[in-house]
Symmetry: C4
């Protein structure tokens, strides 16, 4: 069952691995902080480029920065592939895919104009932030939240199925009552209105004009009152239950070299996810 470790056993690849993938050594932390700054800067860069006024004045400079960031992230991605023992396994892990997605839009943008804006997806890489700053408590609490959401997975599915049925029927009725002359141009459009209304967003781009339409909308909104209570109730009940059960989690920043799982206890010897042996804490390894 145990997979071969991803961390190379020795040589420069092992050193590179510890710098790039771990955050326990000085070099590893420095690298991670630089990476974070690059991510934030490149996302800001993409955002500013989308503002017409700024694009007109600083378009060239922003383009250059764009290329530089893309090169940097490409090199980093290649280095990550190089320094792990089993590149394919890294490339198919969750963070491996995110890392690739952070690079792809730039090259896509060379063929399809505009798609390079999707480089924004790099922001997802920031989720590593919690690891770098040794915010181990955060990892524990994030797991609590995730567990609560997972546990209420089925109730939420049932709830969504009910909401979708409701929204389709409500949309059809409104389409028949109000009709195209009041903005309800088609059933899909009316379903969009029903979602806007039931979720209490209420844009107001389409609104009922007839008495019957306003009466039905009123009914839907008061019903929506009760409906909005359900997901909240589900998540809250789950979190409240978790509270009593969850012991304080003291997890380190070590990464399982077999399956890239994080959040192992300080004294853990084996990965809790794949059962592979964990390296000794990186600090010792690096010294």
């Amino acid at each position: 069952m145990q997979q071969e470790p991803l961390i190379p056993l020795q040589g420069w690849r092992r050193k590179l691995y510890i710098i790039i993938f771990e955050a326990d050594t000085r070099a590893g932390r420095t690298f991670d902080i630089l990476l974070l700054l690059a991510i934030v800067a490149s996302v800001l860069c993409v955002m500013l480029e989308s503002v017409a006024g700024i694009r007109n004045s600083y378009g060239t400079q922003l383009k250059v920065l764009d290329v530089l960031f893309a090169l940097f992230f490409t090199v980093e991605y290649i280095l990550r592939l190089v320094c792990v023992h089993k590149p394919i396994r890294y490339a198919r892990s969750f963070f491996g895919i995110i890392d690739l997605l952070a690079v792809l839009p730039f090259y896509l943008g060379l063929f399809i104009p505009g798609s390079h804006f999707l480089a924004d997806i790099r922001i997802l890489r920031l989720l590593r932030l919690f690891r770098i700053f040794k915010l181990t408590h955060y990892i524990g609490e994030a797991q609590q939240l995730r567990r609560a959401l997972m546990a209420s997975r089925r109730k939420i599915t049932i709830f969504l199925a009910t909401v979708i049925s409701l929204v389709i029927i409500l949309g059809t009725l409104m389409y028949l009552i109000e009709g195209p002359e009041h903005g309800f141009t088609s059933i899909p459009q009316s379903i969009y209105w029903a979602i806007v209304t039931l979720t209490t967003v209420g844009f107001g781009d389409i609104t009922p004009k007839t008495v019957a339409g306003q009466a039905l909308a009123s009914l839907a909104m008061i019903m929506g009152y009760g409906i909005i209570a359900v997901p909240t109730g589900i998540v809250t009940a789950e979190l409240a239950r978790n509270h009593n059960a969850s012991p304080e989690v003291h997890s380190g920043t070590r990464l399982c070299p077999h399956c890239f799982t994080e959040g192992h206890d300080w004294d853990a010897l084996y990965c809790k996810h794949c059962g592979g042996t964990l390296p000794r804490p990186a600090k010792d390894v690096a010294s």
Copy 2:
């Protein structure tokens, strides 16, 4: 007290019954999946027909599909009536009515133009989805949700009565303060506004313009803050209580042949709802 079983004792009607009403045999599952696909396809068909652009290009084709789906569901409804032992009892059960409602709008549409769009109501038949895919856990959790809502039934009624009183008084005051010249053309219209505001939907099609109106609206919105907390609190408290009490439900997909109740335990011999004897698990019967 015990009702006569709905499942015929023998012959082709028994075989048909097991295919159409049960989901434990291969034929039953195949039939249910085909039915689901037909439901989704016919609902999509109705939706697309309501889009002016598509209706103009593919109107005839969609009409033909409409007729075919209507025939299919009509035949299916008649088969259901034929193969049960007591057709009236099926016709008056919850799913019997839904099945009829899925067919009626088409025939209604022959007389009242436009009403065939109501065929959308077929989407409700999708609620059987959870049964077909043996999502028995889902049935258990849906029952938990339903039980929590039933238990808080009275509190929600009191809450709604209070909200309705509040909304009528608020609407009247706004009508007097703002008047028809600011969009509050009548008390029912103002009540509609009050509902839009208190539920935090906030379309913005009607908004207070005078200082007094904006002050009263501000008061109502801040009050609405507290009000929205009440249904959430009710449902959550109920769900949290349920949590401790509810044992894991392991229910099968067998249907009580007496009253069409679902969700019986695998080892149940009698229907928990009407006390009628349950058939042996359909798999054995079919083999």
Copy 3:
């Protein structure tokens, strides 16, 4: 400490009292149901009168109905005053004031045009509904809700004080950033906008146009996310706590003749509120 009973000891006033104030006899129930119908009809009447189209066609008829309803409720109010032992005490009780408020707007309307629409406030009299239909469980649950709200009274006050401070500061900042040219014409107006935004109502009649304004608004909305969680949390925690503590309440529809408190247990001999002796259940008295 004990107050003199409000129910007259004998004669026609005692009989009238039992009909008007109690709901346990056949005559009492009939009277209450008639009263409810009159309330609903008169409120509908007021609403319809406010609709311009209907007022133009049926104005005279509605006016006549208005006068008739006003006379009916006036006579009823006088009868209530006459048949209680201490009219002043009734007139100053909660429902005594509501009953007066249901009559006043009509007479006020004779002097101040338009104010007769306030007769809508009669809807509050419907809160007696729960008593008439022996919905004693409802009374128990309404008390649970009231208790939960009372227990979280202080937390809600603190919460509102914080929200008001926040809204004033936010409104001032937006007034300075956006200014009158973008619809933020004054600080009170901007505070109104801040309330509309923080409560997630979002009418959209006033919206930030500048980049700084949109950034501040974004911040406020994300903050509002957390803020809306607080009142819900308060009420839910209180309701969840109540759940474990509250025994099932079995209260009758008897009215304390001393202080008009309702909801006494079937076997109660003394009013739980003022300590006065309760009458034997009205049914026996009336027989």
Copy 4:
């Protein structure tokens, strides 16, 4: 560890200190109430000044009142500095900064027009209200709320980080789908729209027009349903937990003379925050 007390040992400064900083003596209460009235009046004054109509009619009078209030608060601030033993420590405490912020905008307004409106920030000084009226229960409950928010600090941070990532990606997608011609003029603007939508505020100043845009918006809104449940769940679970644990707090209105902490028990001898000795209850001192 213990700091030198801030309350002077004797003389007029001690008397002044007890009047200005404490609320247990008659003079102290009178001073605090006057201060509160001045705060409310000055904030109202600032608000009214921002209304164009009122400014044109009563501009001069309001300006004069503004100057008077500014002088009053300046003198008060200086007196506070004078009568404490260690002025620097007061000036750097939480309320010391608020007191300064209440004065600064006026002087700033002499140089930067408009900035004197920021004097509104004085409203924050009202938070002392709970102390003056001996609302010690309120202080206890405020601490409960604060504790619940502090305990869920990390979960809320994780939640906000997720929401921000989501909002950036959603904004980018909408910018690409809808584009500048439908109001999504830039990515920051689209992110603003995404925040408006996900928080269910829904101004409606920018709305999707294309089918793809409306579909993505529908998805985002239904997701927002689940998302809004999370902070509520976090705070509620924390409050429900607190409930069982928190004993009733009986705190006085005494102020620690070392670190300005409030909310000490009546029989406390030492500050629970800095460990400094507390003065005997001010009443005795003043008599």
